[in-house]
Amino acid sequence: MLTELWSDLRYRVRALVRRRDVERELDEELRFHVMCEAEKYERAGLPRDEALRRARLAFGGVDRAKEQSRDARGTRLVETTLHDLRYALRTLRRAPAFTTIAVLTLALGIGATTAIFSVVDRVLLRPLPYTDAQRLTVLAADFPRQGLEHGPFSGPEYEDIRAQVRDLLDVAAFAPVSANVTGTDRPERIQAMVVSTNFFSVLGVAPALGRTFRAEDDGGGIGIVAVISHDLWQRMFAGDPNVVGRTLRMDDDAFTIIGVMPSGFHHPVEQGEARTELWVPTNYRIAQLPFQQRSARFLGLVGRLAPGATLALVHSELGTIAERLAGQYPDAYASADEWRISVTPLFDAVVGHVRSALVMLLGAVALVLLIGCVNIANLLLARGAVREREIALRTALGAGRARIVRQLLTESVVLAAIGGTLGLLLAAWGADALTSLGGPSLPRVGEASIDARVFLFAALISVLTGIAFGIVPALQVSRANVQDALKDGARGATAGSGRARTRSALVVAEVALALVLLISAGLLLRSFARLAGVDPGFEPRDLLTMQISLPVPNQPERGRYFTPEARRRFTQRVIEAIEPVSGVKSVGIASPLPLRAGATINFAIDGRAPMASGLLPSADFRIVSPGYFHLMGTPLLAGRELANTDDANSPLAAVINRTMAHRFWPGESPIGKRIRGGAEGNPWLTIVGVAGDVHQTNLDVPPRPEIDVSYLQHPVGFITVLVRTAIAPERLANAARQAVRTVDKDQPVYDVVPMTQVMAGTVGPRRFSMILLAAFGALALLLAVVGISGVVANVVAQRQHEIGIRMALGAAKRDVLALIVGRQMAIVAIGIAVGLGAAAAVTRVLSGLLYEVGAVDPITFIFVPALLLAVALVASYLPARRAMRVDPAIAMRNG
């Protein structure tokens, strides 16, 4: 059976590929047959001529035998298709204007769809780079009573869960840390993960070089080993194949590299924007990460489902474990807490936050493609009127309707294929643009590019598109009446109301689809404008920011910056080193930088009882330099700034923000009042000033209470240097870096960016969706204009005869114009009505991306349809007027 199939295929392929040879052989074979037959007759005594004639007669139709032999080859379908293709190309070449418009429309539509798909494919469709990734889950601790969701676990909690859970094969823990890597030409800050030694085996990934961790790697002491990422290996070790065994200095400790991960591997759940490039066992940073403390929660957990276990089973088992632990350690889990352990598939944890935005964009781009299809279907219908005679002729010559539909569809698919090829080029460029536009807000996109999968998608969508826009016109046109069309005086105008109705329906669809896109884009634009109008609370222009983190070795007391005095001096020297650089106006520090990260503390107010619940109020906490508010351009509302005199020898001072002053001292001045951070026994801080509100974490999150203190009194190791510049801040980046190196050459300076860029980063995901939707909306509008004006031009052309008569009978030009444009606008109005209904249903999907704009925002829902109506009016008026310039006498004669 199989060999038969194989022989069949080989035969057919040869018949196709070497068609000419096969044809020649067939000729020769038949000629030989007739010769043999003739010789037989000759031998029987007939004269040569007569013998040949008889032989030919006996054979019957040579052509028919050939034709049937060709059929027997089983390649007929391919051959007619080739014929259809050649015919289609000829037809398209003869209508260059139509072909150009159609191909461009398709190239844009297919290109945009393919580009978005290439991103969706990378982010949502590819499996994660772990063995059996769909069996991996992420655990999180929820304390609903405190409003804490998806939080980390503590060391003891991890040990308990791992020991007790049955439905998870194993559970691994990880905690993000970052560190300075030195000893190379240029010190670097890298993102690392402290992981349990079973981490890589839970993920089921083997290293590309060396080994991963074993249980003994974690066994106390500080013989520290590290596994590095492929990227780090290439960057720092130039891909050295003998890297295993080499050492790396990280925060002044030496690490032995034991393994290199493969290039596709990445950490499952990243912390922030930086990619994890190094993994170390939990004996690292043991001093800062208190694994033994039940309430110190900093571990993320990833677990693998046991064979036969389901998410639901794990969920209920973890519920039991949480209850048991709460009963066992009542101090750690106050009864009010009611902590829970949640479990989600790893894939959801990685891409969940972008899934809806990407699906929305894919839907939007599909709408654009659909509008393009509608447009081309409309153009094809218009051409159908012209081609009626050709098709009637072919019908008369014996072509069946199916055959004609097939020919017309071949034309459509050829168009789509050409458009698709161009589109693929556009997509290759678009995928790059998308990746850079998405930036860090798109996880695991890597370098989205055009690979075999994307190519296949583009090919498939091209064919589908070709059929989608081709089928309705093909069915319509092939219904043409032979008698009418062949009659000499026949006009396209007789094409009947059926086709006109189809075309109107297509315009309605087109307008409705375009409106949905435009309204969506409008809503996002308005949100974005609102957000851009939010006052961050400081002046972000001409402000350069850069990060410095002092090293914390495994034995912190041996660190160069262990003492507060050392940290204070370092900060002071950095500020002093940058100040004289030309172009610098003033220099300060903040820890953390507003809009980049937040730190909160619980605080108590001197002389006030704790809140009824027994919990302390919380506030954002920032360590800054004297003169910080002046440097940032944040107004001081009462009291004074933190000053150089607020130093180690003077009483602790604090500035609070407006929100805090209003909430805790309504109607009275907070100046001179005392607050205390955290637990009993901490020193009191005296409030010396009240400053304006600053958005701490994100522009769309309202400011919370904030407490600012001076680094002189609270020396810190994580510093953001702020440089107010007189010139463009980017231009000072190198000079500022150099200045820091003069203070400590082993100190990496990283994330050197203008504050405006930090702000842009916070609106990244929204910006990505908005720019794309706006682009798609513009494209949809353009396509709708092309579609509407095409239809009007065609209507005028087809009704020229009638228009001529009307005008000859005395109708004014403007009346006829009003008639045509009015009818078209009625169709557009129906489209807008349909589109409004659809938009109201669809924009709910967007609500997560909107900011202070309702999903059915009245302004958008009035303004956008009005815009579309106006554009449609122009798009139908202009071609109608141009067509009207024709002399009625000529119009009637030509008609």
Binding site: T3, E4, W6, S7, D8, Y11, R12, E25, L26, E28, E29, L30, F32, H33, M35, C36, E37, E39, K40, A58, F59, G60, G61, R64, A65, Q68, S69, D71, A72, R73, G74, A396, L397, G398, V482
Partner: protein, 134 residues
Amino acid sequence: MAVDPLRFYTSPRILALVEVQGDRLTDSHLDLPQGTLDLLILKALSLQPMHGWSISERIHQVSRETLRVPQGSLYPALHRLERRGWIKAEWGASDNNRRAKYYQLTAAGRKQLAAESEDWARLTAAVALVLRMG
């Protein structure tokens, strides 16, 4: 439904019908029943490789000039059999020293011939039984 007269005559099916009738008028040989041509070709080739014309001559002679291979169907049949892999073709020199395409049976073809011969025998036996009936 009205039939377009032009279309009626250009339909390939009608053309075939006209020609078959023509054959009947000029020829008194028996036409081969549907599907037997393949069997006869395989059988003829089981003796030795042959070219198209000699296959038709061989069948004609062996059947004591009763069976006549419709020449227009011979070559389509040969190509079909070749496609199925039951016979294979090779160019060679004929008796009169011209290039001719020789067909020969493949192993698969031999198996097919055995199977079809058996089917044929059973069929004719069964038909004969029915015809002999009361």
